[in-house]
Symmetry: C2
Subunit: 426 residues, 2 copies
C-alpha cells in the first residue's frame, strides 16, 4: 500500500522547527502579558457569513469554505479579527472599554505555497478596542517591535501608511465605497496603473500618482509633505489623517521603535481598515512578518455599538523562520536527559519506580522500553547524546542503589537512591 | 444588522477559561519533556483518505469532510494518531526506533454538544513507536497519571482492558475482521446485546457474556481470572493477551499509578487497537479525560514497516473543566499590573518612553490609551484592580521622576525614574 502524503500547502513541523514555533508562541504570549492583553480562544471554524462579511474579495476567494453536516456554510478562519469582532458584539458586549484582547493559533488561506507561505499558518493577534487615540495605534506598533526584539530579530523594517489619507481623497471625489475597495486592493498588490484606471477624475489621478512617488525613509518629512499636499489641494479629511499619522509616528518613535518607511500609497488587503496601517519586514523574507491597522467601523458593521479599534497580527511561523535564518532563535537547551535501564526483565518494576521518582523531581527521564540488552541500550543512548544512564541492577537494587553512568565521560559509579537526583542536577 | 453567532458546537474560551486551557497545555508539554517525548506539529487539515483509513465507522461519519479549492477531499483531523502514522511512514521513516512523539492542538468531531463535549476540542497526544514491550504500554498510563497529578486532579479512575483478549476469541471463532470491528463498536457503546447478536457461535457468545460480567476493581484477581478462563477454553492468543495485561498492570502499579478497574469487555471506538486499552475518568464528568492503547498494525496498514506502537490522547479542555470543577487549577496569578498615565496630551511621548522602560524590565504595563482625564483613568484602574499607576506629570518629568500611586493603599509618592522598577518589583 502506498503511503499517505500531506495535503498540498499543509506542512509538518518536526523537532527543532516545532520547538522554535512553540517558543515564538510563548514570546508572543509574554508580550501580551507585558502590554496588558487578555487571551481569548476562538474557534477555527466560523460561519462563512461572519468571515466573509468585511474581509475583502481577495481573502474571501481564498477561504476554506464548506458545509458542515448540519448544512451550515462555514469556513476555516483566514484571520482573527472577524472572530474578535463577533465577541465584542456578543459575549463581551457589556465589558467596559478599552478591551485588550490577545489570541494565537492557526489560520487558513488557499494561497499558492512558497517559502514562508503555507495554507495553514500561525498568527498571534492583538486587538485594542475602544480607543480612537493615536497612542492606541502606537501600542500595536510598539508591541510588535517588542516581539521582534524578544525573538532577537535584526534589520527589521516597519512601514507605515494611512488608509484615511487615500479614502479621504476618494470619498471627496465621490468614488463609491465598492470602487474604493477595488482601488485599494489593486494598490495593495502594487498594481498602480490598474488602480488608477478605476479612478474617474483626472485631478484625483494626479494626486494619487503624486502620493505613489512619496514613499520614503525620511518619515517625518514625508508625512509633513503629505499633509501639505492634502491641505493645498483641499482634502480636509486626508489632512486630518496625515496629522494623525504624524502623531502616531511621534509616539511610536518616542516609545523606542524605529519606523523606517512611510508610504502614503500603502494599502492592505483587508477592506475594513480606516486609519493607520503598518507592516514589518525582514530582508530574508519577501512577505511581511506582521501587520495591522485601525478599523473604526467594523464593530458597527457587525451589529455592535460604534467602537474605534486598532489591531495587529504577527506571522508566528514567519517570525520563527526569520529567527532561524538570522540565527537569533534556537530550540531551548533541553534539561539533562536521562535513560533508566533495567539490567534484566525482572527489574522492570524496580526501574519503573526509579523513573517515577526522578520525574517527580523534575528530571527528564526516558525508560528503556525496547527490552534491549544493556550494551545495545547504552549504545542507543550514546547515539542520541543523552547525558546519563541510570542502570538498575540486582545487586545494587538490594543495596538501595543504582549504577549512574555519565555517558559523555564514559564513567560510572554506584549511587545511593537518595543521592541520584542531587548528582543529576549538579 | 443582527450580530453574528458561533457555529453550533464551537465555543469561545474567555478570560480564566482561556488561561486555564493554556496552563493545561503547558502542563502536558511539561509531561512530554519529563518522559522524553519530542513535539511535532501536524496540520489540522489532512486528506480524508488518511483520516478515514483506520479510524472506524463511528468517527468517519462524524468528521468535518469537504473538498478544497483543488478538488481534494480533505477533513479536519478528529484525532492525532493518523497524522503521526503518516509521519512515521514518510518523513520519519528512517529515524531509529523507539520514537516518542508528542502533539497538542485542536481536533474536530461532529458530535452532539453536551457538557465537556464540543465539536472543536483540544488534545495532547503521545505516541510511542517501535516497542512491543509492556513497559511501553505502562509509560502511556504513567504519563497520563503524571498529567492528572500536575493539574492537581483528585479521585480520577483508570480503567484498563485489552482488545487482544476479545480479538483472540473472535478470530479463533473465525469471525471476520469487519464483523469484529462492528462487535467492538457495539461493545464500546455498551450495546452488549447488539454486540452478541453479531456473534454466530453459541460458545463464543457464552464466553463474551462471561467477560462482560467480570469488570472489577480487584484488578489482579480479575486479570488472573480472565487468563484462567481463556486457558480453560483454549483461547491461546487471548491467554497471552491476559498475560500481557497482567504485566502492564504490574508495571503501572509499581510506577505509582493506581489502576481502579479492569474490564475485560472494554472496547474503544477507534478500530486500530490491537492490545491494551485504557481510559481515565473523574466523577464530575461522564466522558473520559483521556484514553489510549496499543495499535501494532497501523503503521503497516499505512504503508510503513511493521512497527509496534502504543499511544494515548488526553482531552485538554476536559481536564481543564475537571480541574476547575475540583478547584485544583486556577488561572496563574498575574504579575503586578501597572497603568502608565500621562497627565496631559503633551506628555504622551514621555509616558510612552516610561512604559517602554517598564516593559523592558518585565513589568506588565498598560498605557492609558483613552486620553481620559486623570480622575477617570484612575477610577478605571481601581475598578479593574490594577496594582499601581505611574503618573507622568510636567513637573516630575522635568525632575526625571514620576508619581507612583499604590492603587490598593491609595497612597502615592514621587519616585525617581531609576527607582520605579525597584519599587514595583518589591
Amino acid at each position: 500500500m502506498p503511503t499517505f502524503q500531506n495535503v498540498r500547502g499543509m506542512r509538518d513541523l518536526l523537532s527543532e522547527d516545532a520547538q522554535v514555533l512553540t517558543l515564538v508562541v510563548a514570546k508572543a504570549r509574554g508580550v501580551a502579558e507585558l502590554f496588558g492583553f487578555s487571551e481569548v480562544i476562538t474557534p477555527v471554524v466560523e460561519s462563512y457569513e461572519l468571515l466573509s462579511a468585511k474581509s475583502g474579495e481577495e481573502i474571501r476567494q481564498r477561504m476554506f469554505t464548506f458545509k458542515d453536516l448540519g448544512d451550515r456554510t462555514v469556513a476555516l478562519r483566514p484571520e482573527f479579527t472577524a472572530s474578535i469582532a463577533r465577541l465584542i458584539t456578543t459575549s463581551l458586549k457589556n465589558e467596559p472599554k478599552p478591551l485588550r484582547l490577545f489570541s494565537v493559533g492557526s489560520v487558513y488561506r488557499y494561497d499558492e505555497p512558497q517559502r514562508g507561505r503555507y495554507r495553514e499558518f500561525w498568527q498571534s493577534n492583538f486587538e485594542l478596542m475602544g480607543s480612537s487615540q493615536p497612542e492606541a495605534d502606537a501600542e500595536t506598533i510598539l508591541l510588535t517591535d517588542s516581539l521582534m526584539k524578544a525573538v532577537g530579530l535584526q534589520d527589521y523594517v516597519f512601514k507605515l501608511g494611512h488608509v484615511g489619507i487615500l479614502r479621504g481623497i476618494l470619498t471627496q471625489e465621490k468614488i463609491d465605497e465598492r470602487t474604493q475597495n477595488a482601488i485599494l486592493q489593486k494598490m495593495d498588490k502594487k498594481e498602480y496603473d490598474a488602480a488608477l484606471d478605476l479612478v474617474n477624475s483626472e485631478k484625483c489621478k494626479t494626486i494619487l500618482r503624486e502620493l505613489m512617488k512619496m514613499k520614503s525613509s525620511d518619515i517625518f518629512k514625508t508625512a509633513e509633505a503629505v499633509r501639505g499636499l492634502m491641505k493645498s489641494e483641499g482634502y480636509e479629511k486626508s489632512m486630518e489623517a496625515a496629522d494623525n499619522l504624524i502623531e502616531i509616528l511621534k509616539l511610536a518613535t518616542e516609545g523606542g521603535c524605529k519606523i523606517e518607511v512611510v508610504d502614503p500609497a500603502f494599502a492592505r488587503g483587508l477592506e475594513y481598515y480606516t486609519g493607520m496601517i503598518f507592516e514589518v519586514y525582514v530582508p530574508e523574507l519577501e512577505i511581511a512578518l506582521g501587520g495591522g491597522g485601525r478599523y473604526d467601523r467594523l464593530i458597527e458593521a457587525f451589529g455592535g455599538e460604534p467602537t474605534p479599534a486598532v489591531g495587529v497580527a504577527q506571522g508566528i511561523d514567519r517570525i520563527a523562520l526569520a529567527g532561524q535564518s538570522q540565527g537569533s532563535v534556537a530550540a531551548p537547551q533541553a534539561r539533562k536527559r536521562v535513560v533508566v535501564i533495567p539490567v534484566s526483565p525482572t527489574l522492570k518494576g524496580e526501574a519503573t519506580k526509579i523513573a517515577r521518582m526522578l520525574r517527580d523531581e523534575g528530571v527528564s527521564s526516558e525508560f528503556e522500553i525496547m527490552g534491549r540488552k544493556m550494551a545495545k541500550a547504552l549504545e542507543d543512548a550514546d547515539r542520541r547524546k543523552l547525558d546519563f544512564a541510570v542502570i538498575v541492577g540486582e545487586r545494587e537494587a538490594k543495596l538501595g542503589a543504582v549504577v549512574l553512568r555519565n555517558l559523555a565521560k564514559r564513567e560510572q559509579e554506584v549511587v545511593k537512591m537518595n543521592e541520584i537526583v542531587g548528582k543529576l542536577k549538579k
